[in-house]
Each structure stands twice: as C-alpha cells, then as structure tokens.
C-alpha cells in the first residue's frame, strides 16, 4: 500500500529550467537517451535576507494549532498563469511531499533525488548509463531568488524497500524552522535538528555526517527511532515536528508490517517528546499499541484549550490522545470511529485512522478520519470536539461484546463531541452511500467557517460552531493536500495538476445538491448538476493548471503564493 503522506507544501528552486529537459540527446545505440547532467552549484548562495519575514510559514499549518490559514497577507494572486506569472520556479525531484516552509529568508522542501543537485548522488550502471540514486532530500532555496542554497541528503534504508522506506518518496516530513534550527523526520525514521545555514558556515553539532560538501546539511543532532526505540515504521516516516518551548514532539510512524495485520513492535512508542536542543527523549507513549490499524503519518498539534495547555497526537488506532506537554500524562482521549466500524484495506472498510492533522480553533479540536489513499475512499467522519472533560471523552463507551463479537455500547456521560459530519447518506438521489468520505486533509477555519476536502476531491464548507453544512464542490480529482485560506480566498490543489481558488464567504449560502424532487435518475442528475452550477457560480474564482500533480498544500508567506507540484516549486506574486 502506498505510503500515505498528507502534507503538501512547497519548495523553492534554482537549477535547471524545464526547457532543459526537452533538450535531451538521444543515444540510439542503446535506445535510451543520455542522462541529463544537472548544473550543480559548487558554491553556496547566501539567503538574501536571513531575518524572519512578517508572515513566515515555519511549519506544517503555519502555527502550532495547524490551522491552514494566513490572516496577514493581502493581495494574493488568484487568477494567473503558472508559467508566466511565477517570480521564480525551482526544480525539485520527481515527487515532493514535504513543505514548503518559508522561514528566515529560506524555503524548505522535502523531495526525492530524481534530479540530483550533486553529481555525487548519481551512479553509473554496468551499461554506462548515469542514473540518480534514490535518496531522501530536503532542499533549501533562497526566498527572494529561488536559488538553491543547500540540501540534506539521506540514504534509503537499504533492503527494506516498501516496508519502511518506500522507494522514491523522498522526505515526506514538512520541516519545522525555529530560529537558526530546522527540524524534520527523515525517510530513515530519524529526527534531525540541523543548522539553517547548512554546512557552509562550518560543521556544528555532530561532526560525523556522511555527506560534508559545502551544500550539504549540517546536522546538530540526529535521533534514530528504529535503533533507539525499536520503532517499526510502516512504508515511510513522515511526521512534521511540533515545537512548544524547549520540547519537540514527533509521531514515530510505528505500524504494521508488509502483511498489514501484524504489528511487530506494539511496545514501541507512537508519540515522543524530546529536548529540542539535544534530541534526548523526555517522555514517550505507545498508547495505540497493538490497536494500530496501519501506519501513523499524521502530526501532533498544540493548543491551550479552556486554559489547559496540551499536545494532541492522532493515533494509528483512530483515537486522538491529549497529553500534558511536559510530562506525557494523558488528559483525554477520543475515539473517532463508530464502535462497530471494521477496518479493511479497501473502500468497503468502515474503520479509519488519520492522515489529516487535528486543528485547534476556538477551544475546540477538529479532525477528519482517513486512510492510505491506496485503500481508496470510503465512509468517513469529521469531528468537532470540545474537550472540557478528562479521560475517555468519546461519544459512546464500549461495555462488552455480543456472542458474535459485535460491540455493546452506551452513551458516554463525559462525551465531548460537539458535532459530527459524515456517516451514511440514505437519500434517494445521492450518488454515493456516505456524506463524507475519507480525507487526507487538514481543516482550514476562518471566521467560524470551516473548509475540509476529501480524498475523492470534494471540498466541503461547514459552520465550525454548529456543523451546519453549507455547500460542497467536486474537483473530480484526488486531494492529498488541504484547503488554505489567504486574502479572502480558499486555495486547494489536486492530483490532476490544478489549483482551485474559491471565494471565502463569512455567511455562506446553504446549497444542498440533493435538495430537489425528481422522478428518475436522469432528472435527478440534471437537477443535481444545476445545484452544482450554483455553487460554482457563487464560489469558484479560478482553476489554474500546473505542470504536474500537486500533492501538497499551497501556502502564502510574506506576500508570495507558493505552489509545489510534484516536480517544481512555483513562487507567485501579484
């Protein structure tokens, strides 16, 4: 099953322009084109402005509450041509799932090594062909010019293949930048703290890095979760670190093996807290334990909810766990699945885990459930939780099992479920069996209006306080990233290479696409399409085509819109 990465963001670039790709030379004798040599910067480019910008986007979601909004920037472009309106473009590998993060004049992206920046990272085959070696890469670019500055190069976990380190996925973690340090999780299931300057200013911290060219990463500390904690990462380690004070929080990716039923290391932690200066573990939890369904690729979130400071981890068992940040003491937990849900590696399964990340907003927690996209869509749920109590605050409690193994449940007096959207859709003219499908996305909440997209391409607009559903729009393409708010608009990118831009409305109109009376399916289809046209006319601003699928979230920082396709980072400004 494919590794699942929810994150999506951008990168900056520098190197070869795309036109260069076209200028390939054939070698007819071998029937294969000669490998392109990528221009390689031997020197380093200093970030033009190393100071924090007015609206840097320094981590997944921009802030520790992970809400996908930018409330500062104005005049963000919404109708443009990607190729001609970009202020710069940067070549990435062939896949890019980490970032972009914009901090201190630099832009950070997680990608693969399909376009090596350093000739060292190529190999020569027995046939004499030059081919890139598969590696995990964090590329760092100059925010103003897009020029390449430095990169972190991490070897693959040799031999493990798809089990731990899926081929060619690169680094899927969105880095977190704080001051002069950047933190990320590698494809090797290690947590890295690195110098934002790279190796160019000398080697600080540990000095046994494998790669030490001037454009290589300068690692301060690196913590190996497989070696030290016996973690068994499923497919890929992808967590986007969270920093609160001096503590860094990371989900470990512990999961099932390639057989998809056995959890080889149920005692290994799923969540860890570390000293951000040293990488020393402070506390850890294996709360999901043997109930992990698949892997764990979501991200922790921080919030002060009704005055209670807490770090919330999404568990691979479909539960949210809230902890005291300093001690790891459990504050509350919430089961995001119906008790009778059944897990299957296919669309028919009704039990889910998390790919999207929880958002803390207005003393509440928002999250939708999902699965590895390889398992297709299926019935999903979106939750708003108001955690005012402690312990198990799920909607119901399981009190036992029937003789045939079905759960017996009762309402939970401590339930903190504020509202729920999803479940089965029974209306006659619905084209599917459920209201809300599995999601890989994280919520975007602004003016008490919530936007959440599904894997199957539908964007929902919902009242964040009440759960009232206003409208939905079908992009007809898979969505791995999230809706993102900036400058009165919602940006949403898809697997079919498009960036969709919608108008944000503080008081949205309720347009229910099944609110009609029809005699037959043909008529119902016509009426449903009319409703969809109403949504499009009212809320769609633009659909902008890019050069490759976009499996990331477009973000805005310091007045610039960054769109990261799987192979190129675009910086676009009005």
């Amino acid at each position: 099953m494919n590794p699942s990465r929810s994150r999506g963001r951008l990168v900056l670039f520098g190197g070869l322009t795309l036109a260069g790709i076209v200028a390939l030379v054939w070698v007819f004798g071998t029937g294969r084109p000669a490998a392109l040599s990528i221009p390689y910067s031997t020197g380093t480019v200093e970030a033009a402005d190393a100071k924090p910008g007015p609206s840097d986007h320094t981590m997944f979601g921009g802030t520790p509450d992970r809400n996908m909004v930018n409330l500062k920037d104005k005049n963000v472009p919404d109708k443009f041509d990607a190729e001609t309106n970009a202020i710069w473009k940067a070549d990435l590998g062939s896949k890019a799932y980490g970032g972009p993060v914009v901090a201190g004049g630099r832009v950070y992206v997680g990608t693969n090594n399909a376009r090596p920046r350093n000739p060292r990272d190529n190999k020569k085959t027995p046939d004499g062909d030059v081919e890139p070696v598969d590696k995990g890469i964090v590329m760092v670019f100059d925010e103003k010019s897009g020029k390449f500055i430095w990169q972190a190069v991490h070897d693959k976990l040799a031999g493990a293949g798809r089990v731990h380190d899926w081929p060619d996925e690169g680094i899927c973690s969105t880095p977190t930048v704080e001051g002069d340090r950047v933190y990320y999780v590698t494809n090797r299931c290690t947590v890295v703290c690195a110098d934002v300057e790279g190796m160019a200013n000398g080697n600080q911290g540990v000095t046994d890095e494998k790669y030490k060219d001037p454009t290589d990463v300068d690692i301060i500390w690196e913590y190996d979760m497989m070696k030290e904690l016996n973690v068994f990462p499923h497919n890929m380690s992808a967590c986007c670190p969270l920093i609160v004070g001096d503590i860094i929080y990371v989900g470990t990716a512990n999961g099932v093996d390639e057989g998809h039923l056995n959890i080889p290391q149920p005692l290994a932690p799923s969540f860890i807290a570390m000293d951000k200066k040293t990488g020393k573990p402070l506390w850890k939890s294996n709360a999901p334990g043997k109930n992990i369904l698949h892997g764990q690729w979501s991200n922790p979130v921080y919030g002060e909810i009704n005055g209670v400071r807490q770090v919330i981890f999404p568990g691979g068992d479909g539960w949210l766990y809230s902890f005291v940040p300093e001690t790891g003491e459990l504050i509350w937990k919430f089961d995001c699945n119906p008790k009778d849900a059944v897990y299957e590696l296919a669309g028919a399964g009704t039990r889910n885990d998390f790919i999207g990340t929880p958002v803390v907003y207005d003393n509440k927690v928002y999250i939708g459930v999902g699965q590895d996209p390889e398992h297709s869509t299926g019935i999903g749920h979106f939750w708003c939780i108001a955690p005012t109590k402690k312990g198990d605050i799920s909607p119901t409690l399981e009190t036992g099992k029937t003789p045939d193994g079905k759960p017996i449940e009762k309402p939970n007096p401590d339930s903190c479920a504020a509202w729920h959207y999803g479940g089965e859709e029974g209306r006659k003219w619905s084209v599917r069996d459920f209201k809300f499908g599995r999601t890989m996305s994280t919520a975007c909440i602004v003016d008490d209006i919530l936007y959440i997209s599904e894997l199957t391409g539908i964007l929902h607009c919902i009242n964040a306080k009440t759960g009232e559903h206003y409208w939905q729009f079908d992009t007809k393409s898979s969505i791995w990233g999230s809706a993102y708010y900036a400058d009165g608009k919602i940006y949403l990118a898809t697997d079919q290479s498009d960036l969709w831009v919608f108008r944000h409305d503080k008081k949205p109109e309720r347009i229910d696409e099944l609110d009609f009376k029809a005699e037959n399916m043909k008529e119902a289809t016509k009426l449903r399409k009319e409703k969809q046209k109403q949504v499009e006319a009212k809320y769609l601003i633009a659909k902008i085509e890019f050069n490759a699928p976009i499996r990331s979230t477009p973000v805005v920082a310091n007045g610039v819109l960054y769109v990261m396709t799987e192979k190129t980072l675009y910086a676009i400004k009005k």
């Binding site: 062939s94 057989g259 590696l345 028919a348 869509t377």
Partner: protein, 788 residues
C-alpha cells in the same frame, strides 16, 4: 502438485508446431486474452450500450461474482477468477464458469489461499487464460497455485508455484497473468529457489498445457526492483513468435515463446514495469508510473520498434516516448504522469493511456503526438476497452465512464455511478470486455452482462497474428532444449530426458539429435546468491537424443543435467526433495550451506555451528521482505498426512525476538516474538493465511511466554478427515517431558489437503546497518501420521 502424466503427446507436439494461439485462431466469439483477440483492448463489436443503469434494461444478467479483473469468454461460457466472498474459514478464491446466455453457474472450482501476505480484499486480480482447442482454463491463484481446469471444471493438473519454485507473492494483490500459446502456459513471476535461481529474479516458466511439465525457464538476470503485475501478450515480429511482458526489473522483455530465449529487452523504469504491452506490427508499446532510470520525472509510455534490435545490446530502437518528447499541450514539456497500474488500449491508430490519477490520454500511436486528455476519474486501476466507437473504463470509486469517440477530437464523457444493493462500497477495479454483442465487467460485488435491448450480435473479424517464418524441416538447428527442463524426483528414480533440435523459432525439427554430449554439470559460482549445488549424484546413460539419469539413494539433492550438440547446449534442473519419513540434524552439512533438496532455502537459511552444535540459522542481515519473512519448503507440496517436529531457539537483538515456527499442509505454528502489551507475555499462534485480523482465515493464539536463548520443541500435525482437517500444535521447552495436551487445536471446515513441510522464520528488526534477532532450528523430523 506433480504433473499427473508425462507422455510426449502428439497433440502437444502438433500444437507446438502449428502455434496454436488462443488469441488469434479461436472462434471470433471468444474473448480469451484479457485484452481481447488482438490483445490490445479493442473489441470490434458494434451496437453496444452507451449508458449504464445497474437496474436498467441494458442489464442482460448480473451474477454475484465480484472481482478485480476481467472475465474470459469461451465456447458459450464466461469464466472469472474471484474471491469467493465468504468471510472466515470458508474464505478463498475460485474459478467460476457461467452460462454466457443467462449467467447461471455451470461450475465453480474453489481453492484455499495460503503462504501469502495478500489480504482478502485483493483476491481475484489475475486474469485467466485458456486453450480453446481443449477448452482447458488456466488460473494463477493468489496462493500461487497454477490450475489447469477442464471445460467441465475438473482439475487436470496443478502446480504450487510458491512451494515448488519459490514464487514471491505480489505486493497488494497485483500478480501477473499466465498466458497460453503454442501448447504452453507461460507464467511470469518473481522467484528465488535454489542453485542459479537462488537470487531473486524476474523469471518466466513455461509449462506444457496438457501435463504441467516444465518446458523452459527464463531468468531475466537483473535486480528485482519490486514485485510486478504486467500481463504478457503473444506477438509475431520479424517472423518470430514472442511472448512479451514487463518485468520486476523495470524492463520490457521479449522471449521466444517455445524456448524462453531472449530476443530483446528494454530498460525503461526504475521500479517494476507493471503495464501490459501492446503490439502493432513491429511496434511495441508499454507504460509505467514509477520513476525513470534517468531520473527527473516519473511515468513513461514507450513505443519501440522490435524490427530494429541492436545486435550488441539486444535493445530495440526507441520510436518515441513521453519522457523525451515535448508536448505542446503540456507547455512543450515531457509528460510527468503516472501511467502505472492501469494498462493501455490501442485502436484505429490511437493509443489510449489512463493515468493512475484519472486522466485518459489519447496519442497518435505512430508519432506519439498527444491528441487529447480528459479528466474522468479520481483513481484508476482497470484498463480501457475501446469498442463501438466508445471507450469504457472504470474509476475505482464506483463509477463507469463511457467516452463517445470522435476521431482525433476530444470526446464527451459520461460517468455512471454504481451503487450496489445493500449500500456496500464495492470498488470498481475491473476491465470491461465486449464479445458477441455484449459488454461484460466486474464490479467489486458483481459480474455484469450488458447489451442494448433487442440487439443481435453480428459476426466480427479480428486481425490474425502475422505469419511466422516458414517452417523448414531441414533447417540447421538454431538451439537445443532438454525436456523436461525442471524435474522433481525421488531418490533412486530413473529420469528420462530428451534433447530437442529447434529452429530459430523454437519449433522442433524432425531430425533426431545424435552425438549428444550428456553430462551432470556443476554450474560456476554466481556473482551473488548461494553456492551452486554439487553435481547430481546419479548415473547418466544413453546416447542420441534420449538419456536416462538414474539417481542414487541420497534422500535429497539438487543438480543439473546438461546436453551438448555441437556448439549448442542446454541444461535441465533436477530436485530430489525429501520424502516422508525424513529427519535432519544438520550435522553432516558444511557451514554456510542450505540443506540439500529444500526449496526456497538458499540465502534465507544456512547451516551454522552454534556453541559447537550444527544448526540451521535464519538469515538475519537482509531486511528485504521475501528474505526477512520466509518458509523453507522441505518436501514437495503433495505431502499430506504427516507430523513435523523441530527444535527452535530465538536470540534477542535490541530487545526483540523474532517469530519462528513450523509448517504443515499450509498451516503454520508460530512462536510469536513480540510481547502482548495487555498480558506482558509472548504468545504461540497457529493458523493459515493471515488475511484478516485477528487470526487469519482460520487460527488461534494462546499465551505461551517463551524466552530467549532457550530451545523449544514445536510439533504440528494435520489429520485429514472426510470434510475437514484437524490441526493440532504443541510447544514445550526442550528437555521437558512432552506435554500430553495440545497447545492449540482447531478443526478446519475448509481444509488444506496437502502442502510442503516447512520451517518458518520472520525477523522484523533487521536494519540496513544492524542484524536482527536470531532464529535457530535443529532436529527436524517429519513423520507419517499413524494410520487409524
């Protein structure tokens, strides 16, 4: 498992000479290759439905046999391989035969699934193949059985590819299809076994269609990038009859059908090449959705000219590909598109290529020019069917898309949602077919037959394969082949081998080989993998084209038989597998060597001296899944009615113990190395096919807090009853008296009737720099059950 008979049938010889190809010479009303008579996804049927309503008049019949592949239609019957839909112990896979006219079941043949990590929702992804001359249907099941079923649903023969040849399960259920041609069933696979096949490789085996005997093996020789699911096709190019298929090595491979000799190969993917090829004249098309060997962007469609093969590199000339060609519609950039898990179609000079992410591209097949692109889906695994000027293709997410083609112009497309009764979410991974005026396809829940009301099927004509080069009975032999090419025998057997003289197309020449130099050779050491086995302990006799190899009394061994005729040479593989009763204490085996006669053991297990004691050790330095988790297959898979007992010991590394166990008739008794977080103790479990939590198709587990560095004895016995099997296992600390009670016991209502005796090991904590936990085995004993 072993072939029933071994006659040199005249029919088979004739079919080999005449090149009976299911694809071309079958009646027009058959659809045998999953992509149709021209193997390109193009049906020439007319007047097919242009819309779909699951409850509409266009549904001729619907049968509750969901699946992920496409049906096969032959002789008025429809055949499909699919998961049988039952949960629990009755879950398995079956070939279903239905009456084409009304969808009524004629027969079904069910098998268990075993020795695989593939889960139940992924069953039935492998297209069938058939021999229209005999009506035999061939199925490659998820558990690795290759079944030959007669037209009335009786088993003609079967092989267990996993247990006999070390075939590796595909990832996520995607496994390449077999193909029947020229009297042979050719099966692509990733395998690793013994001798020169110890290394994991993309391999093709050809079995006689009538007996299941091995005619040839082809080893592609390149590193395996992944398991793969390219389905092969048959072509005649430059007068040569070829089987063409993608490989786990990222290559497109073309082999002579009758011999497996390489004609050309073309590397074009950094991962596994999963697309199924298409041939038009001398042009061969294939697709992939992984990274490219040269880097930069992923995905590629290639068009190569197989008439222009470089004699030195054996690579065909590239005509065009999407990697290098600038596309105006893509701002003069090459295409970065996942043309990965769905295969293409070719019709009327246009190549239709679906991306995994739901766009259908149409290209001018000769030039590679993009004609149009339409977004129609979110997630695509099935291939397009072009028929009646329409394209039918599924979105996995319960939608059928129907395109109304309009020459080179971008077509209109309509989506039809499929809501199955009962509201279950049934994915649509299948590929539609059209034959006899009807359209057939699988959803996850059902098999549909559609037709326009009142429409009558018109005869249609398909282009036959080009003629092969004319057969010249007096031609100088171009190659020789030993038949059979791979034999499983028992000690003392007198094995008959023949040398065949072949023309350049692999056709048998009437002349008999004389002056054949027969030998029992040792192969030179391979660059990687296990040491080659010593020469067969046997006497070889005979002259001319036939030889008798009389094996000596060694209870188990492997080796080769060689033949030389002038400059031409060939060899065959011989395995003498242990027979029951059998004991093995490893005392006579040098360190570093696997026990003789065992399959799937080299590189995965080896004898070591531990504390002065000779034992077998599981390899704990290679994290690749087929090595980290492995069964040895000690006996042949036909073994039944026996008990296996062995001593096992686990060593702790980084706080972790591995899983270790023994297997009997496809049931496994496992000492689980992990500690249950609830009890704080380890467990022992026993079952078969861990497809669903918590215990697989059938199984049980119990707390048994075994400890590191201590020997335990495990005993597993399977008692076959009339309709069930009683499976019993026990574990005790070595040296303690054997407990009277069984540790675990269950009765299987869907019993495995036979299966190789195995040792099992799974080390989950091997990293690229550190060895994982250790497993040792000793004192293996396999004994027949007492007769009652």
């Amino acid at each position: 498992m072993t072939p029933r008979c071994r006659p040199r049938s005249l029919l088979w010889l004739l079919s080999s000479l005449c090149a009976v190809c299911l694809c071309r010479e079958s009646p027009a009303a058959d659809w045998i290759h999953w992509r149709g008579p021209e193997q390109n996804g193009h049906s020439r049927e007319k007047n097919l439905p242009d819309n779909f309503d699951p409850t509409g008049k266009e549904v001729v019949w619907k049968a509750p046999f969901g699946g992920r592949s496409s049906p096969l239609v032959m002789g008025g019957r429809v055949f499909i391989l699919q998961g049988n839909g039952a949960a629990g112990a009755k879950e398995g896979e079956r070939v279903v035969c239905l009456d084409e006219s009304n969808g009524k079941v004629v027969w079904e043949y069910r098998v268990n699934v075993f020795h695989t990590d593939i889960v139940s929702s992924r069953l039935g992804w492998i297209p069938l193949t058939a021999d229209p001359a005999t009506g035999n249907v061939y199925a490659h099941t998820t558990g690795g059985l290759l079944l030959c079923l007669s037209k009335d649903g009786k088993l003609v023969w079967q092989r267990s590819l996993t247990e006999e040849f070390g075939r590796v399960t595909g990832y996520g259920g995607r496994i390449p299809a077999p193909i029947f041609d020229s009297g042979l069933v050719v099966v692509p696979m990733v395998s690793s076994n013994w001798g020169e096949f110890a290394r994991s490789g993309t391999r093709f085996v050809a079995l006689r269609g009538d007996t299941g005997e091995v005619v040839w093996w082809h080893d592609a020789g390149n590193p395996v990038k992944d398991t793969f699911c390219s389905n092969p096709i048959i072509a005649v190019i430059n007068g040569q009859r070829l089987v063409i298929c993608g490989g786990a090595d990222g290559y497109l491979h073309a082999l002579k059908v009758r011999t497996g000799e390489k004609v050309f190969s073309y590397p074009f993917c950094a991962g596994a090449a999963n697309g199924s090829p298409i041939v038009d004249g001398t042009l061969v098309y294939c697709n992939h959705g992984d990274e490219n060997p040269e880097g930069k962007i992923y995905g590629r469609i290639i068009c190569v000219d197989a008439a222009q093969v470089d004699p030195k590199t054996k690579r065909p000339k590239l005509v065009w590909d999407t990697y290098n060609r600038p596309y105006k519609a893509n701002r003069n950039q090459p295409l970065s598109v996942r043309f990965g898990l769905a295969s293409m179609a070719l019709a009327d000079g246009r190549l239709y290529a679906p991306s995994d992410t739901g766009e259908l591209y149409a290209f001018n097949a000769k030039s590679g020019e993009m004609l149009w692109k339409v977004n129609y889906a979110r997630e695509v695994r099935g291939a397009p069917l072009v028929a009646d000027n329409k394209v039918y293709i599924f979105d996995v997410q319960q939608r059928l898309a129907i395109f109304a083609l309009d020459g080179d112009k971008k077509p209109e497309v309509e989506e039809y949602r499929i809501r199955e009764q009962g509201g279950s979410y049934a994915e649509t991974n299948g590929t539609p077919i059209a034959v006899n005026g009807r359209l057939y396809f699988n959803t996850g829940a059902a098999l549909y037959c559609l037709a326009n009301p009142g429409a009558k099927a018109e005869p249609v004509k398909y282009n036959p394969l080009p003629e092969e080069a004319k057969f010249d009975p007096s031609a100088k032999p171009a190659a020789i082949r030993i038949f059979p090419a791979d034999v499983e025998a028992k000690a003392g057997d007198a094995l008959k081998f023949e040398v065949k003289l072949l023309d350049a197309n692999g056709r048998e020449l009437p002349a008999k080989a004389d002056a054949v130099g027969w030998s029992l050779p040792t192969l030179p050491p391979a660059k990687e993998g296990a040491k080659p086995p010593p020469p067969l302990k046997a006497q070889i006799g005979g002259s001319g084209d036939a030889a008798t190899v009389t094996l000596d009394k060694a209870p188990a061994q492997q080796g080769h038989v060689g033949a030389k005729v002038g400059d031409l040479s060939a060899r065959a593989r011989v395995r003498v597998a242990p027979r029951i009763p059998y004991t093995q204490d490893f005392n006579q085996i040098p360190d570093g060597v696997p026990p003789a006669g065992w399959a799937n053991t080299a590189a995965r297990f080896a004898v070591v001296t531990k504390n002065g004691q000779k034992v077998l050790m599981k390899t704990n330095t290679i994290p690749a899944p087929p090595v980290a988790k492995a069964n040895t297959y000690i006996t042949l898979p036909s073994a039944t009615g026996y008990t296996i007992e062995a001593d096992l010991m686990g060593g702790e590394v980084r706080g972790t113990l591995a899983d270790m166990g023994v297997g009997n008739c496809r049931y496994t008794l496992v000492l689980d190395g992990k500690i249950d977080p609830t009890t704080g103790k380890r467990t022992v479990r026993m079952g078969s096919w861990e497809a669903r939590p918590p215990s697989g198709r059938i199984g049980k587990s119990v707390t048994f807090d075994w400890q590191k560095d201590a020997w335990y004895t495990a005993k597993l016995t399977v008692e076959q009853q009339e309709k069930t099997a009683v499976v019993r296992g026990k574990v005790w600390k070595k040296g303690d008296p054997e407990p009277a009670d069984w540790t675990l016991e269950f009765e299987d209502p869907s019993p495995n009737r036979e299966g190789a005796a195995t040792l099992y090991g799974y080390i989950s904590n091997i990293t690229d720099t550190q060895p994982g936990a250790e497993i040792y085995y000793d004192n293996v004993s396999i004994t027949p059950n007492a007769k009652k």
